[in-house]
């Protein structure tokens, strides 16, 4: 690129301004699939979704369906659900347990680690090397504390390099479990959304909207969330780089200094959980964890850890995506798990007290972009008060647009790459 010429991406993404076409243009969406979804690490699922050998669940990587399998030897496999013969699906179930997948079209049969075992009437394939005709795998797979990521790039940064400081988000979440492990075992709500996936991702770390979008539920339920997102809030937003972002309410919770306040309750309501935490970590450390609570963070490009639930964002087209959401469960902590499920069911999914209204906003934003003046979205809130924390991460006020600016900066770097 000529240094004097601005790239397409310099035009579309300027400091604090992003062009509307980034959300609606079909060609840009296709380019994102290649340069983001098939390039970086993408969250696929959690090990606890396939607890036993031969368990499988259907997942996605970008727009592509994926079979997440625990194979007959107990290894996690990410298989592409496409018969190498003529492209039929080898599995049409959402989940199940089976050692083999047989394509219904010509009966090609695969092991659950992807190897081609048999095809019908094999004499027609005399001399064929079966080992070249297995189900394709997602080339790279990495598991961190049960969270399974896949990358379609044969080479690239390791998962540790990709996550960087955002690893601490997963650690903080798991530390809230007395066993140090979380489970994703309650099944997903699937919320169809007529909006671009990036509107969803950006909203997850937008601390400016809750006071308005969620005022209906805040006004009738005693949630205690309101304090986190007001003009006087001490909560901050933080960028870990590479598009990983969080809203960090810990300053507020530490000010309150009440264990389980983050969860809108008190320790005496969850005696079993508190005892388990004290036994696992010692009282002092357990108290710190139970004051700080779980994180509110996004891991680029599709995982949102939302305190007590996770969301997985699946892009479908420039104007459509699916939000998959479910309660996080702490392994072997039944008394808190029931509350985690109940609160999640109330909040999220198509009928949720919160997410129905968030989604209404995404869909209105998407339709709004049909109006082409102004051409750009305005993301400059809090530019003057960005600063670094003691670890060198960029932080800002909880209601500022810094997370969006950081998202777009990383997005631009990926989209500008030639390969």
């Amino acid at each position: 690129m000529d240094g004097n010429l601005k790239s397409k991406w310099d035009e579309l993404i300027q400091p604090g301004l992003v062009h509307g076409s980034l959300y609606y243009d079909e060609a840009i969406f296709r380019e994102e699939i290649d340069k983001i979804w098939f390039k970086t690490w993408v969250y696929i699922g959690h090990e606890s979704e396939v607890p036993d050998n031969n368990d499988f669940v259907t997942k996605s990587l970008g727009t592509m369906p994926i079979l997440m399998v625990r194979d007959s030897k107990g290894e996690i496999q990410l298989l592409q659900n496409r018969c190498p013969h003529r492209g039929n699906a080898v599995c049409v179930q959402d989940k199940g347990n089976r050692a083999r997948f047989t394509c219904p079209y010509h009966s090609w049969t695969f092991s659950n680690s992807g190897d081609l075992i048999n095809y019908a009437f094999p004499e027609g394939y005399a001399g064929t090397d079966k080992s070249q005709l297995g189900l394709s795998k997602v080339p790279r797979i990495a598991i961190y504390r049960g969270f399974i990521f896949g990358s379609m790039a044969e080479e690239g940064p390791t998962i540790e390099e990709h996550l960087g400081g955002a690893k601490s988000v997963i650690d903080r979440l798991c530390d809230n479990s007395p066993t140090g492990e979380v489970e994703i075992s309650a099944g997903f709500l699937q919320h169809r959304t007529r909006a671009n996936w990036k509107f969803v991702y950006e909203n997850e770390v937008d601390g400016y909207h809750p006071a308005f979008v969620h005022s209906s539920i805040f006004s009738v339920a005693d949630s205690g969330i309101t304090d986190l997102y007001g003009a006087d809030a001490v909560a901050v937003t933080r960028s870990f780089g590479k598009g990983h972002l969080e809203v960090d309410p810990r300053p507020e919770f530490r000010k309150r200094d009440v264990p389980m306040s983050w969860f809108g309750t008190t320790a005496d309501k969850l005696p079993d959980y508190v005892n388990q935490m004290n036994a696992a970590y010692g009282e002092e450390k357990a108290r710190e964890i139970m004051i700080d609570g779980t994180p509110h963070a996004v891991i680029f490009p599709n995982l949102f850890i939302a305190e007590i639930q996770i969301f997985v964002i699946q892009p479908v087209g420039p104007g459509e995506c699916v939000q998959h959401s479910t309660a996080i469960q702490f392994k072997d902590a039944p008394d808190i798990n029931r509350r985690l499920r109940q609160q999640t069911m109330g909040s999220v999914g198509p009928a949720g007290f919160l997410l129905a209204d968030d989604t209404e906003m995404y869909e209105r934003n998407q339709r709004g972009l049909e109006i082409r003046d102004p051409e750009y979205l305005y993301l400059k809130r809090g530019e003057h008060r960005e600063r670094q924390d003691e670890d060198g991460y960029l932080i800002a006020h909880s209601t500022d647009d810094m997370p969006s600016r950081e998202f777009w900066s990383h997005y631009k770097s990926l989209m500008e790459a030639n390969t």
Binding site: D94, S185, A186, G187, F188, L189, Q190, H191, R192, T193, R194, V213, S215, S216, I217, S219, V220, A221, V322, S325, T326, A327, R338, R341, Q342, T344, M345, G346, G349, P350, A351, F353, A356, D357, T359, E360, M361, E363, R364, R367
Partner: protein, 186 residues
């Protein structure tokens, strides 16, 4: 394929969607059926016109409102449901709608629903009335037009001479798929 194989394979595959087998009432009590239908038609109308208070009044004090996800007979105490409201959460849902700031219902969905295929289930000893029916709903809102279809199961109870809802389960036919926002009363 043998007939036995079909008998076994059919229900096994469909089980998640049809749900557990039920015992239907074979005798026909026209007066009771009329009363039940009038009650459920009225419930449908109150939902369609967003008469939230009147709809909430239809519930017993221990009412349970359940819209499962990913199947028919899931375990709501283990698995995520679209709605799993006890009586106090039903009240909260109504209070939120009544603020006028429930954005996904501002403006409210315009709705017309048809409820049909009523069948009584065999009654137990507790005097409750168990009834199955099918519903289709047309919704139009800012996003566009959406069709919803469900199998519904009610437990109705006589309280002070009037029928009330103690239980309403709405099994959306596409509840294993990604569905649009569902913030009207289904």
């Amino acid at each position: 394929m043998t007939m036995e194989a079909i008998d076994i394979a059919g229900p096994e595959i469909l089980k998640e969607w049809v749900g557990k087998s039920r015992v239907y009432e074979k005798s026909f009590n026209p007066e009771l059926m009329h009363e039940i239908q009038q009650f459920i038609f009225r419930e449908a109308r109150l939902q369609d016109i967003h008469d939230y208070d009147a709809w909430e009044d239809l519930w017993t004090d221990d009412g349970l409102y359940w819209v499962p996800a990913n199947g028919t007979d899931t375990d709501p105490e283990r698995q995520m449901s679209l709605i799993y409201d006890n009586r106090s959460r039903i009240a909260l849902r109504i209070r939120q709608l009544k603020t006028g700031r429930r954005h996904s219902q501002t403006p409210p969905s315009q709705l017309a629903r048809v409820v049909s295929n009523f069948e009584l289930l065999k009654a137990g000893n507790d005097g409750d009335i168990h009834v199955m029916c099918t519903a289709q709903i047309f919704e139009t809102n800012l996003r566009g037009d959406t069709m919803w279809a469900s199998r519904n199961e009610y437990t109705l109870r006589r309280v002070g001479g009037e029928l009330k809802m103690a239980y309403k389960k709405v099994v959306l036919i596409n509840n294993n798929k990604a569905i649009y926002t569902l913030s009207f009363l289904i």
